[in-house]
Symmetry: C2
Subunit: 347 residues, 2 copies
DNA sequence: TCTGGCACTCTGACTGATAGACTGCCAACC
DNA sequence: GGTTGGCAGTCTATCAGTCAGAGTGCCAGA
């Protein structure tokens, strides 16, 4: 694949842009006459045809059949978003509107849901947001509360005041004082330590000393496991999937089914999103670039969202390849920033 | 609508059954010759035609056009499920298989998800299960734990040891003793009382005495609200929605979109499920009977699930009107029982 | 009451024929 | 040399027409 950016004339680029912009709005192959009208250049259709022929040679456009107009290829879109696109940042009013939707009182999970809902509402595509992940959560404190004869409620506070509950059945009735003692012990020893470390330490200790506290410690370990595991197995939230049904390139029921199955299955999509975490800023997969069959006719525009410069997750939009990238990109970008900011107040 | 059960001959009933059974498998209008072969009666197509004509008169079948076979109407299906259907209970092996899927260790929410997944997997339709609701949850106890200078973790235990957490920011730093005192007070006063009652009592008291404890009490109220609200605004879990894309009567993208939008919107579906709670046992909505346009070509088979004879929720299956009712009904029935049983061990 | 037969109807698939929308190429023009 | 108008060629979409297949309704006879 030769990077033929230099070979392509200014005029040809302008035409490619016009062609894509036109194709994005109505999804029909674009002919030379239409383009002559649209492109803004004062050229006859015949000239346009010559240029289009060059663009086809370069692989930026293709024609479905002899007497249809031209359609942008994946390579065409790629060139478009990489070098032709001028994204104008969202105007302040639009940004404020999004910010207003983020209620800082909301829990992280709700913020994430707001974000995906907003992405889909504004772009009229499908919005997708991964849940924020915290790496290396810290052990803060644990508390054991007696509930009934032999049932104890364990409360584990970790990281940024993330709380986990678990009810455990004990073999004998523990007094409140006993439980207090157990939690005091654990808190004094581990408060502020890395949760993962706490977990292994406890495990080791349990093997050595067969103490009365084993039950409590075991529970603490299990809860720590749960926090850590929740971390590992990431998840995402989607909204507006049905918006995709409006695009006739996706109207085939088989394709739709594959797509929606992938949304439900989550695994493949997560894997794809994972690749976006590492990239800096906006990341775009066009058509087959994703490598997943069900996304062949789709594009994905993503941006990581950060708090304190640490990437907590990714959000973005899934739509047909012919989406209005110049409109979608600033929206995704702004939403990522604002979600990061909203999560920041949670500190 | 005349209940013409008496007017319809034994033979006609048998034919209606054969017609529906045939139509269910391939979705094509059924002609007289096919039926003559299928029905098991030794009759010529001509005779069948006469009977079909009667059935059409009665509104049980209809023909899409002159020279197509007959198709069952909603009324036809209704008669079929009400009087023609002989549901054979699920065999023990199948039941065991379902039971095995329910891990009694799972939380209620996970059990519900297993159930919907199983319903969709076994029937190859969409499975739906409402979350179990507890009515009139009791206040059990509340606990306040200091986290940092002016942050307190509140833990509310209600009903069957349902736990709610909330972090509150206090204006001044509260000592552990102070917090202990507050929770002791509330627990002594309200333990075992109806949560709703606790809530109103607290509200009243707060208006009368402007005490230092207001902040704690306010939090307790808010958490109670959350428990109660979670109760009111029920929710459901679905699985296998994409299975519905396989049926050509639903292949129209517009219809699919309406349907999936309704699944996401939840409100209408919830309203429908609500009607199933009151009915005893299996409840079936066929086609337009539901009263919702997006379900015009769908049927819904539901059963309430109970613990200790109290209805906690509803589960069921959504599929095209031409579903194999005699197969689906026992599955829904058994799953409801088993889910109830699995939840029972949670007591 | 059941059945075979016949006329009739409607669908779906196939076939041309035609209009419309393009392209590609060529010769002329600036 | 770049640009243009014109023209031939090509592909699609659409519409009417035909035909086989499937099914019904009705009638007369068993």
């Amino acid at each position: 694949m030769n990077d033929s950016g230099a070979e392509i004339s200014e005029r040809a680029q302008q035409m490619l842009r016009a062609l894509i912009e036109r194709f994005v709005v109505d999804g029909q192959p674009v002919g030379s006459r239409t383009l002559a009208r649209d492109a803004g250049l004062k050229l006859s259709p015949a000239t346009i045809r010559n240029v289009m022929s060059d663009l086809e040679e370069l692989g930026f456009v293709a024609s479905p059949h002899t007497s249809a107009g031209r359609v942008p290829t994946v390579q065409g879109y790629r060139f478009f978003v990489d070098t032709l696109l001028s994204v104008k940042p969202l105007d302040q009013r639009a940004i404020e509107k999004i910010r207003a939707e983020f209620d800082v009182e909301q829990a992280p999970k709700d913020l994430v849901e707001s974000a995906s809902g907003m992405l889909s509402a504004i772009t009229q595509l499908a919005g997708i947001v991964t849940l924020p992940r915290r790496d290396h959560p810290l052990f803060k404190r644990v508390e054991f509360l007696p509930l009934s004869e032999n049932r104890v409620l364990a409360v584990l506070v970790s990281g940024k005041d993330e709380v986990q509950n678990r009810i455990l059945k004990t073999e004998r009735t523990c007094s409140a004082a006993e439980l207090q003692q157990a939690s005091n012990y654990l808190n004094k020893l581990f408060s502020g330590k890395d949760l993962d470390e706490v977990r292994t330490t406890l495990l080791r200790e349990m093997q050595q000393t067969r103490s009365d506290m084993n039950e409590m410690m075991m529970t603490a370990i299990r809860m720590a496991d749960k926090v850590l595991e929740k971390n590992a197995d990431e998840d995402f939230v989607m909204a507006g999937q049905t918006n995709l049904m409006g695009f006739h390139e996706l109207c085939d029921v088989e394709k739709l089914r594959m797509l929606f199955d992938a949304f439900n299955e989550k695994r493949d999509i997560l894997h794809l999103l994972d690749q976006c975490v590492h990239g800096e800023g906006i990341q775009i997969f066009i058509g087959e670039e994703s490598g997943y069959k069900m996304l062949d006719e789709c594009s994905m525009v993503t941006a990581p969202y950060t708090v304190d410069g640490r990437v907590l997750g990714v959000l973005g939009v899934i739509g047909p390849t012919r989406m209005a990238y110049e409109r979608v990109i600033p929206i995704v970008d702004a939403t990522a920033r604002l979600l990061g900011a909203a999560l920041n107040t949670k500190e």
